[in-house]
Subunit: 405 residues, 2 copies
């Protein structure tokens, strides 16, 4: 029995019919629609036969198909979506993993196969992304998140309890990784690179490191009509100059740099901004150029501030080191993809958390116009088929022990 | 009897004691504190003797002291303040006008003197500034403002009714200007120019014209991690480039140009901005350079947009032509100031509305560090004395018919 990519696409269409619609996917974690998605997954898993399904302490769903070799190879992603999300983000990897289990069920002399559907990868309701996978990786700090509330004021702990998850005990999910020898994930690229190169599928070499900072500029709020240009201390223009510098810095280092939010105070058209808060997100696949990008951004922000009589300070919002996937798995993914292309992932994925402790790798399929986290998210069906097929071949080789030895 | 500047300062201190405090002035129009301020003014006017006090259809307070020459010279400003405002903005002009009435009461062979305290110059509660003076000038469009509500949802019409003002009948206030032959106003500069030049008082030559526009940039929202720099259509950077261009344009034309607010969408640190709305406020004392500033801003915005694959559109938010005050009155104000300095006003004032129909002029006194609309607003007492004295001399000359003949 081999991989049937058309069956995976049919499962995805059915999932979309149940939990999507004209406004996009509605599978926000810890909601009824998310439970409905898992219900479909459980129904499909029952049909495979011989699969044991369980939810771990962090709400991750594990479906295990025993093998006759030691060790477990996990394949998966996440069923949860952002509000008005796309039909493929996360769901593709879970449904492809389901197909891997189907194919593995007919295969002998292999490791145990485990499908994992990680809980709350998106963090759409409470703002903490990679919830389930970081619990398994042991990087979830429950103290830091116990105070989180959703937009309606619902407390994280109470909402989790409704879903059979005790926030205090989520760290016990780390036990799940003890038997794991590899983690594999198929995902859409969520960017325009593969489409631009005309490639349906590629290996992923690792995930970008991220330095996310708030740069604050303090000048002097003053009247837009009465303050001559040469007597201004305009914090907003210092931020504007910094945003343009970030773009040049990112280009120079072949990374990415984004200023997606800026807040001016008092923030009215009739006042020079006395304060500006600029959020800067810098990413690079390698640590050294990433550090250089941050240092240069600091220097340019200080220069922009000084040039306008403003002061500048910065504070770290979030950071993660670049993560390289396992070399043997990346090579095998390249072989399976047959496109000779490996690219780093600019977005974060559950695989980045898993890669902290075990050999992990990902494959990407193309994203139409690079759009994701939106109802327009799509991938041409021929690309989906090629990618599901290639990912299935990779997973079956790893399950047979042909890659990691 | 002549002008007693110290009495004016004492009146201002008493007003501040009653309606100000550690958080600044609390005289927002159509509130109890504003009524308390008017109560103090009415008490002081009673002490003058021979003064008839009335509220017009737009809520403006008129205190009239009959003269023996035809025509009425109005002197005034506004008692209302922004929330947490300063003690001098508006109040200085009203209390100085009170002193003019005191001095005029002892004077014979003069025009009728009228103190006017315009209602809602600031527009702090409903967002429509110059309310009372524009009603008198006939430029208040009641249809356009009848739907306004305050932050608590209170309807403009209902709040006005509580203060004896029928929104439908405000236009009847235009009758007030029939007898007027001149309008004079003393105000703080609200900018740093006079302080910078070491001058306590100056004549005001007119008010800046204003072109206030929204520039909207449409690009493509995309993932901050997965979208390579050369595949972005970043609307936020187009806005940043435009803001920096506005600064250069304003400098080149010796006007002022401000970008005090920008809104990015989706407005999160992990997404390239697909849309940016930039509010641009351009001001100049002359119409021709102001028009050039707008044209150049449009061209630079279009260039910034095109350079990043964005589209650009602009829409007018508000505009007013530059207004020149009456030449004879400005000359007399220069003589009274004895500093040889006349400067245009970058801020709008009730005088700009009055100047549409009759000879008007203003005088400015210095503003410490140029700060206004804040509790820190201040003017050194010696400057206040010089300015009140100079303004009083100007007003008495105009009342005696020595300036307009």
């Amino acid at each position: 029995m081999t991989i049937d990519a058309r069956r995976v696409i049919a499962d995805l269409r059915e999932l979309d019919r149940l939990t999507g619609g004209p406004d996009g996917a509605r599978r926000v974690c810890w909601t009824k629609e998310w439970l409905r998605a898992r219900e479909l997954l459980r129904e499909r898993l029952e049909d495979v036969g011989g699969v044991a399904v369980a939810q771990d302490e962090a709400g991750n769903l594990w479906a295990t198909l025993p093998g006759d070799r030691d060790g477990t190879v996990a394949v998966g992603s996440h069923l949860d979506s952002v509000p008005n999300g796309g039909w493929l983000d996360g769901a593709l990897g879970v449904m492809a993993a389901l197909e891997v289990l189907r194919a593995a069920a007919a295969d002998s002399h292999r490791h145990t196969a485990a499908l994992v559907d990680f809980a709350d990868e998106e963090g759409a309701r409470f703002g903490r992304s990679l919830f389930g996978s970081s619990a398994v990786a042991g990087t979830l700090d429950t103290r830091a998140i116990e105070g989180l509330r959703d937009a309606e004021g619902g407390a994280l702990g109470e909402v989790l309890a409704e879903h059979g998850v005790d926030l205090e005990r989520t760290t016990a999910a780390t036990a799940r990784r003890e038997s794991l020898i590899a983690y594999l994930e198929l995902h859409i690229e969520q960017g325009p690179v593969l489409e631009g190169e005309g490639l349906p599928v590629a290996a992923v070499s690792g995930t970008f490191g991220v330095e996310r900072y708030r740069f604050s500029f303090d000048g002097q709020a003053s009247h837009a009509g009465t303050t001559p240009m040469d007597m201004r201390r305009d914090a907003g223009l210092a931020a504007a100059g910094t945003a343009l510098a970030v773009e040049q810095i990112a280009r120079r280092h072949e990374g990415v740099g984004t200023c997606g939010r800026v807040d001016l105070e008092p923030g009215i058209p009739t006042a020079v901004a006395g304060r500006a808060d600029l959020l800067v997100d810098l990413r690079h696949a390698q640590g050294e150029p990433l550090a250089a990008m941050l240092a240069e951004t600091r220097a340019e922000a200080a220069r922009a501030a000084a040039g306008r009589g403003c002061s500048m300070s910065d504070s770290e919002l979030w950071r993660i080191e670049p993560i390289s996937f396992d070399g043997r798995l990346v090579t095998a993914a390249l072989e399976a993809a047959c496109t000779g292309r490996a690219l780093p992932s600019g977005a974060l994925h559950d695989a980045a958390e898993m890669a902290r402790h075990l050999p992990a790798a990902m494959m990407f399929t193309s994203s139409t116009r690079g759009i994701s986290h939106a109802k327009e998210e799509d991938t041409p069906e021929p690309d989906l088929e090629r990618a599901i097929d290639a990912f299935g071949r990779l997973a079956l080789r790893v399950l047979r022990g042909e890659v990691l030895g």
